[in-house]
Amino acid sequence: MNRNSRFLKLLSLLAGTSLSAGEAVPLHEQIDGLMTKDWAAAKITPAVTSTDADFFRRLNLDLNGVIPTPAETKAFLDDRRTDKRPRAIDALLARPEYALHMARVFDVLLAERRLPAVKSYDVAATAWRGYLAESFAANKPWDVMAREILASDGSDESQPGAVKFYIARDAEPHQLTRDVARVFLGTDLQCAQCHDDPRFDDYKQADYFGIYAFVSRLSFFRDNKLNRSFVGEKAVGDVTFTSVFTTKQGKTDPRLPGGKMFADPKLEKGKEYVTAPSNSARGVPVYSRRKQLAEQMPRAETPGFSRNLGNRLWALMFGRGLVHPLDLHHAKNPPSHPAVLAAIEQWLVQHRYDIKGCLREIALSRCYQLSSELPGGVEPPVDAFAVSAMRALTPEQLRWSLLQAMGRMDTHFLRTLEQLKKTKPAEVETKLKDWHWKKDGYELLEKQSSAVIAAFSPLPGTDDSKIDPVVDHALFLLNSPKIIELIKVAPGTSFDRWGALSDPAALAEDLYLSLLNRRPIAQETEEVTGLMKSTKTPKERAEALQPLVWGLLLSAEFRFNH
């Protein structure tokens, strides 16, 4: 039995499933079976299944990063097929927007909105997000992505953006040590830098310095001729550490927590470098500890590697990890549902870290599809996942959703297409088949909404599951000229459509489908009808509607994914 299969066996024990049965029972059914057991044990009544409208909005936000268009929502609501939910899941996962959304999500997850000390030395956003988008479009397994990101020094011309993880942290060894452990393994070893962490038995100073030894020889290198940033590496430098408590000393070679040490190979003196480091040249050693890290860490047997991915994908779909905070897995902060996390981890290992497949399984689960309406008016504990949580839209989700609600996305892509038909009619068909035209289109759209990102982005290093609305956001939404520019009555926005609808009921339906992705209730239709009284022209209608539109965009129902 090799290490990998031994590891799987252990996971299947944890998940309470046998290996053969594990393959027969789809992951989403395992999740629901285990959750149902946990709810029964804790005497928790879960919420009912969400309405189609709630489900569809949530699914679009989670898998494509934006609310649906009114036409899409209408089509989904009117679809009478019993398997329309799985169909919708597969359809959204197949769209270019899936890869673009995941690129934005993993940009934040990996770079955490950090910038290098000299901001202009950052990796070009198009190169980094391009790398991520290509990876998600190809559904690259996570271990491959992790390996590429950790191995990158910026010199690989096929994926120069992959070096961002290092550059965003100035290739500073202590920051890298902490973030390699946090981002890839879900553990925060910060306190263990100076001593064995007194809070947690399982954070050892030796573990911290074991990872540190992989990256301690790295440094930031700016090539002013190429105008690009790289990671340089020395061939020498040992790591020793002293506890501030016990003054006990340790020396370590690179080592992953719980793993063996990797001693440097013996190299002939004077032949340690491909390029020796100097002021004008980036050090490239013959033997690279960074490459060793990239080789060794993304494996099923590295404690935390698979679990961290499973936990982060769960958090992406639920707004909260099974282990929470996401980077604080330790003995005293166990997962709320250990068997569920173990089942996901096992599935990921068996399916070679198939991120898209895993998200699909989670989306198929009843647990994911629960309503956000409280069961019997009672709020179950947040870590029970027994009701769909209210989570503030991320700055990225908010930006695209505002543009979508106002009809600005449709207009933009229609215009792009018309332009293309005019200028290069022969290319239209091939271009449309290739998802890249969308990617380029979104880059242009970003300019319209960059103020939203600036106003809503949390501090660097904060993960998206911790986003909370604050008064600055409210002031922005109420008074900023930037927001008013986005939601004012203007040609090429939803107001064109709304103004043209003279029947108040039809108008109310389109309005609510556009903004809140559901049909209006009777009272809401009445309110719209009231506002439309004594308006005659499309322009008058649009002007009368504008304050209501603004008010609905300020509502909690819009602001939260629920």
Binding site: P381, M390, D472, P481
Partner: protein
Amino acid sequence: MQPNLTRRQAIARTLGLAGAAAMAPPALAASPHRKQLLVLFLSGGASQLETWDPKPGTKFGGPFRAINTSLDGVRIGELLPRTAKIMHKLAVVRSVNSNLPDHEKGHYAIQAGRLAPGYPVLGSAVAKLLEQPGDVLPGYITLRRDGPKAYTDTGDAGFLGAKYEGVRVINGLPPENLIVPAGINAAALQTRDAARRAADERFLRTHAKAPINGYGTTFDQARALMQRREIFDLKAESPKDIERYGRHDFGQNCMLARRLLEAGVPCVRVVHFDWDAHQDNFYWHQMRCAEFDRTFVTLLDDLEQRGMLEHTLVVVTGEMGRTPQINNFGGRDHWGRAWSVAMAGCGIKQGVVHGMTNDLGTEVKEDEVGIGDLFHTYLTALGIDSSADYHLNGQTNPVADPAARPIKAVLA
């Protein structure tokens, strides 16, 4: 034995009004002012050896002298000459052992009073615990200059949620977007706000209340700030006062803090940056202490003269102290094992020095105090029961670390 007199009673007695005061206890004569909190945060970690706990002439003492203070037998660093003259109004704890020589963790743990993550920091906690019905101004405002160190803002409200998050005022500029843009008529704004409220009321009927109400509160706070934006306007202060507080970010922020407290904001924090002197510690502390000393004393004087000090707790702390050992660059490094914190005002005994470090300042020798004890002390000084619990979202969490205790010696 002479009973403790409140300041008002003492004044009444001097004026020969003891009889009247006895008939009508101050608490009934005038409703007591609500209690307030001001935290002066020395970010980066001030050296206890150059401030509250000097060890001149010893191995690690550094080049500066210790000077006499207004408190008999108590000496502090010569870089704080003005503070030395008001030592009889302060309580200083010289025996803090936080054991956290780290900016990020220290910022959180010192302010949250514990290591466990997810709890509110002092300003957010007190904003919640002293909240009164009808409050609309933000409960907690935090002032700093624009700085690159993101960890200054770590933590904040924790599980209390966005409502108690510190509103950030950076570089003395009021929050952005305080003014309704021109060209939008009042009727439209009314329709907009009514539509938002109606939508939220409907949504509330079936959904979790905390996030919806928390979000709604940010709009109430926004309106309150818009209506009272003049409280951020330092131009209303006289040039003389601007000069008295000092023309630097800490001085101006302290003056703004006083304005905000006067306007009724319950908790204010001012961050004073750049105490992290890994190199040239003594040069840096000359600069930092000069700013701090003058501004701090001006601020305390003003609070006292305006009758605010008796209901305002002032806390002077950083996230850690600095090592006794002086490194090869003439710096002192991160250190949490034996350092000092100062307090004044509401609920604090005047003229107390609590705890002691050893002769070299390397260890606490007497009356060791932990971060949880300090947190209990601050709450107790503000009249808050620090053994109480929060009951929120179906969870019970202690207000302060149950393993720690208030420091009786510094409480009035």
